[in-house]
Structures are given as structure tokens and as C-alpha cells.
């Protein structure tokens, strides 16, 4: 049996609850209205963008429909421009530096197959840094035509084909290179969608001192647990 005071309290509670419920209903209704309004606005956008959607799909379909077996883009290897030119230190009438082909000097000099280091050279190339095993200059340079290179079996090789020369000794590297596991590249991994360009040996390695040089790191992310946070959070 409840006393009258209790009943009043229950009513009061009920009334308060109804106020809260009312407010909640109002809030929900407002939210629904805002949502439907924005959805309405969105529908206009959707209609205007329908055209572009269709276009995007068409493009995708054309890409998907092109059979990968029929179309395969090329893997190209960067190539040096040709025989190197030596800067003579002179300038021509227009002020441009004068360069000379290797053969300009070397055609009048007798090749010396015993030269191995820069110290062996008393006239030119004295500043050249050579650190490439125990090979001599003429292991790679062609004594009969200094504007070209020479393979181990004596065959002439153009400077542009230098990688064939490197691969004679560096077989494992060449094999890895052929499978994308040595040397940098840019472009596409998927050759049905685009071409790929791979670096040449001499893009990264100086042929006279091929060890990859030391580098100075220039970019460091600033992690919060290593440095004082920039913000209050």
C-alpha cells in the first residue's frame, strides 16, 4: 500500500521523464530533418555527377577489356649517351667548352696494357679514382679503338652496351637484375598496363670505383615518443 506522497513523486518523475523524452524526440526529429535535407541536396549532386560516373566506368571497362596477353609494354634500360667526351679546358668562339673524343689523343699513343692505377698515368687522367679489383685499364677499354669498349674475348663493344661488359664478371648481379631484384626502376610493375624503365649499371655504380658511395640521411620523421609533442594532446 503506497502513501499519497509516493504517488505524487511517481507522477513528478513521470512528468520529468516525459519532458526528457519530448526533448529527445525533438532532437531526433531535427536530426532527421537535417539529414533528409542534406540527402535531398545530395541527390541533385548525384544526378549531375551521374554522367561522370558513367564515363569513369566506361574507361575502366576499356582497360579491363584489353587482354593482357595481347598488349605488353616494354621494359627499357637507360643507356649512356655514347663514348665519353673529355673536357679540354678550352672554350670555343661562342664560349662553349671544347670537349674531345677519347680517340683524339689515344689514336696517336701506344696502348699500355700494364696500366692499372691512376699513379701509372703521368700525363692525363691523374685524378681518376680507380678501385675496381685488380683489372687493368685495357681489361675494359678497347686499345684498338678508345671510343669503344672491349669484351673479355677481344670483341668490340659500344659504350652504350656497357652492361654486357659488366655482366661478364658480375653474373649473379646480372641475373638478379633481370628479375628486378638488383637495380632501381620506375614505371609499372604490371606490363599489361604500362612500361618500365630500369637503371643502367653505370647509373648507380662508377665503373672505375663501383662500390656504392656512403650517403647522408636527409629526412627524419619526428616521432612523438622521441621528441616533445608539438601539441597539447
Amino acid at each position: 500500500m503506497r502513501v499519497p506522497g509516493e504517488i505524487a513523486m511517481t507522477r513528478r518523475r513521470r512528468r520529468r521523464r516525459s519532458v526528457v523524452v519530448g526533448l529527445l524526440v525533438c532532437a531526433t526529429a531535427a536530426g532527421w530533418y537535417a539529414g533528409s535535407a542534406s540527402r535531398g541536396a545530395g541527390q541533385v549532386d548525384a544526378q549531375s555527377s551521374k554522367q561522370s560516373t558513367a564515363n569513369t566506368r566506361d574507361v575502366q571497362r576499356t582497360v579491363e577489356n584489353s587482354p593482357s596477353s595481347m598488349r605488353r609494354f616494354a621494359v627499357s634500360i637507360r643507356k649512356p649517351e655514347g663514348p665519353p667526351r673529355v673536357i679540354t679546358g678550352l672554350t670555343d668562339l661562342h664560349g662553349n667548352p671544347v670537349t674531345a673524343a677519347c680517340s683524339t689523343c689515344h689514336s696517336t699513343r701506344k696502348p699500355n696494357s700494364t696500366n692499372r692505377t691512376a699513379q701509372d698515368l703521368n700525363e692525363f687522367h691523374g685524378n681518376l679514382k680507380i678501385s675496381h679489383g685488380a683489372i687493368s685499364c685495357l681489361s675494359c677499354h678497347n686499345g684498338e679503338d678508345y671510343d669503344a669498349l672491349k669484351l673479355a674475348d677481344g670483341r668490340r663493344l659500344e659504350f652504350t652496351e656497357v652492361m654486357t661488359l659488366c655482366a661478364q664478371c658480375h653474373g649473379p648481379q646480372m641475373k638478379a637484375y633481370e628479375h628486378g631484384a638488383h637495380g632501381g626502376m620506375t614505371g609499372h610493375w604490371d606490363l599489361s598496363r604500362g612500361p618500365q624503365v630500369k637503371n643502367n649499371c653505370v647509373d648507380c655504380h662508377n665503373p672505375h670505383a663501383p662500390q656504392f658511395p656512403k650517403m647522408q640521411p636527409t629526412f627524419k620523421p619526428k616521432d612523438r615518443f622521441l621528441e616533445p609533442p608539438r601539441t597539447a594532446h
Binding site: G180, H182, G184, H188, W189, K214, K220, K222, T231
Partner: protein, 322 residues
């Protein structure tokens, strides 16, 4: 129970005024009622006050946006156009937001040759630029660890080295998202804002993420990043080629992670970090293609994965030249 106790002058039912409390005699009880009602209203207002700040930060459209997987193509186009317009408004530049789907039958794999990597950090820089990272903290999805030779304990790795590299007694190990087959971050997410796609890439719906950072704690590779601040990117440095699930400018308070540059790789292109690597240490490709570069590495090199004992089954591999 006993209606006779109710005072006769009290208005009741539908015949009463709108606010019956106004019509009551000014007794202590009425005063208490008024005070109670005022308190209740104040408490309710306080409770919903965080909602007032929402319009300042996001639009109604954005607030009501559904989960990525529930969006129709039209929804997506509308959202992309909205984000493009917002970037145009804020930074004054034209960007294109698109959402390349996984290529059917492709599963991505990545490998790094630790004999080649010299720790120069160009990959981190490329990631920062490609993926529209916050410039203020030079954010990147990659961290290069300088490790003592002879140890595979990542705890001994140091990311803050600042000297010519490589050092003779160290090796360098870049760590980024390992795109696990069994990703702990995905299981940890309480709102399913992150998931694994068909090509193996684990992605984040930046608009669904609530920023709880559970995934960051769950990842054994420390591969997830949190946007503590609104990203600052100079307008002329913004990469305009933006994937919705990848490198679009992320909002503050969301998690993000490496997505193998899906806006590039799903178009057949190589990831930005691979193209930037001056040592050629990185190999990327399709694990389902037996002729791919990545499969040649898996077949011919002694590859390993990080923290194999955890059973995360990464699609990211490391190897040394023998």
C-alpha cells in the same frame, strides 16, 4: 491508486495549459519542481554539448556518411566530389579523388634486400611526398631501423641515426605495414574501420575511424600512424592524384598506414618508395603471378618475415644476398 488525494484545483488531462507548472501556486513544492526541471534541462544540455561543435568541424553530409562498404557508386562519387571541393576551398588547388578497386587475381607482395639497403631514408621522404603526409612532423609510413649486425631484435633498432650510412657494424631495415594475411590491427578495431582487401592490402576508412588507436597498439610492427594534428601541406606540394582509401589528405584524429600506394599499384604502377630507392633494394609484384619479380625473389633468395612466431603471416619479405 487513490485519486482522491490529488488536489481538485490541479489541471489535468488535455484541458490543461501547455506548461502546467506555470499554473501552480507558488509553494515550496512548485519551487522545487521548477528547480528540478531547470537542473534536468541544464544537465541534458551539458550532455549533448559536444554535438554543438560538430558543425564547426564537419558538414552534415560528412557526419551522416556511412561505412565505405555500404556506399553505392553514386554515394562514392558524391563524396569524392565533396572532398575535392573542400580541398579546392581550403588550399585552392585541383585534386582528383578516385577509388581504384583491387585488380582481380592479384595479390601484392613486397621484398627488401637488406644487403643493399644503406639506410639513406629516401623511401621515407618519397612516402611523405606521395602520400600527402603532414609536413610539420615529416610523417611517413616507413621507419628505417639501424640495427646492430648479428641481431634481429627490433627493440635494438634506432631510427634517429644522423651520420653517413652505411656504418660497417650496422645493417638497415626499413619497416612499414607488412600487409598481414592475419592482421591483428583489423581484429582490434572496434568499429571495423580497417579491413583487408582482396589484393592483400589492409586499408582504413578514414571517415569511419574513431581514432581510438587500438590498432596502433595491436600492430607488432609499429606500422600504424595517428594524425595528432590537422595535416599541414603547402598547396604546391600536395599530390593531386589521390586515392580515397590511400593518400587523400586525412582528417585529424584518424589512423593511417601504408597501403602499398594502392592509388598507383592498382593502376599497375610501382610504389613511390620503390621508385625512390637509390640502392635498388626494393622488389614489388604480384604473388599470384609465377613469373613476377617478387616470386623470383621468393624462389631464389632466403627470405624471412618479421616476427614470424606471431602468426601474422606478412606479405612483406626481407632477404640478404648470400
Amino acid at each position: 491508486m487513490n485519486n482522491d488525494d490529488v488536489p481538485a484545483d490541479k489541471p489535468r488531462g488535455t484541458s490543461g495549459p501547455l506548461l502546467p507548472i506555470l499554473n501552480q501556486p507558488s509553494t515550496r513544492r512548485t519551487a522545487l519542481k521548477v528547480a528540478g526541471a531547470a537542473l534536468g534541462l541544464a544537465a541534458f544540455g551539458q550532455a549533448i554539448s559536444p554535438l554543438w561543435s560538430i558543425p564547426e568541424n564537419i558538414s552534415v553530409d560528412e557526419f551522416l556518411q556511412r561505412h565505405y562498404k555500404e556506399l553505392s557508386d553514386d554515394d562514392k562519387q558524391r563524396i569524392f566530389r565533396r572532398l575535392e571541393a573542400e580541398t579546392k576551398q581550403e588550399l585552392g588547388i585541383e585534386v582528383t579523388i578516385f577509388d581504384p578497386p583491387p585488380i582481380p587475381g592479384v595479390r601484392f607482395g613486397y621484398a627488401i634486400n637488406l644487403s643493399k639497403c644503406n639506410g639513406n631514408g629516401k623511401c621515407m621522404e618519397a612516402c611523405n611526398k606521395e602520400n600527402n603526409h603532414h609536413r610539420g612532423v615529416d610523417q611517413s609510413y616507413i621507419r628505417v631501423l639501424e640495427m646492430p649486425k648479428g641481431s634481429m631484435d627490433m627493440e635494438q633498432g634506432n631510427t634517429t641515426y644522423d651520420h653517413a650510412v652505411p656504418q660497417d657494424d650496422k645493417f638497415y631495415m626499413p619497416v612499414q605495414c607488412q600487409q598481414c594475411e592475419n592482421p591483428p590491427c583489423v581484429s582490434a578495431c572496434p568499429v571495423e574501420a580497417t579491413w583487408r582487401e582482396d589484393d592483400g592490402i589492409v586499408v582504413v576508412d578514414y571517415n569511419w575511424c574513431i581514432g581510438c588507436r587500438y590498432c596502433e597498439a595491436a600492430c607488432p610492427y609499429h606500422a600504424r600512424r595517428f594524425n595528432w594534428e590537422e595535416p599541414e601541406i603547402p598547396a604546391d606540394e600536395v599530390n593531386p592524384n589521390q586515392g580515397y582509401l590511400s593518400n587523400r589528405i586525412r582528417p585529424q584524429g584518424t589512423m593511417e598506414k601504408c597501403h602499398f600506394c594502392l592509388h598507383r599499384t592498382r593502376e599497375g604502377r610501382l610504389p613511390a618508395c620503390l621508385e625512390a630507392c637509390p640502392t635498388g633494394a626494393r622488389v614489388f609484384g604480384d604473388l599470384n603471378d609465377p613469373e613476377s619479380d617478387i616470386n623470383w625473389v621468393l624462389k631464389n633468395k632466403r627470405v624471412f618475415v618479421l616476427k614470424e612466431e606471431l602468426g601474422t603471416r606478412p606479405n612483406f619479405f626481407y632477404f640478404f644476398d648470400s
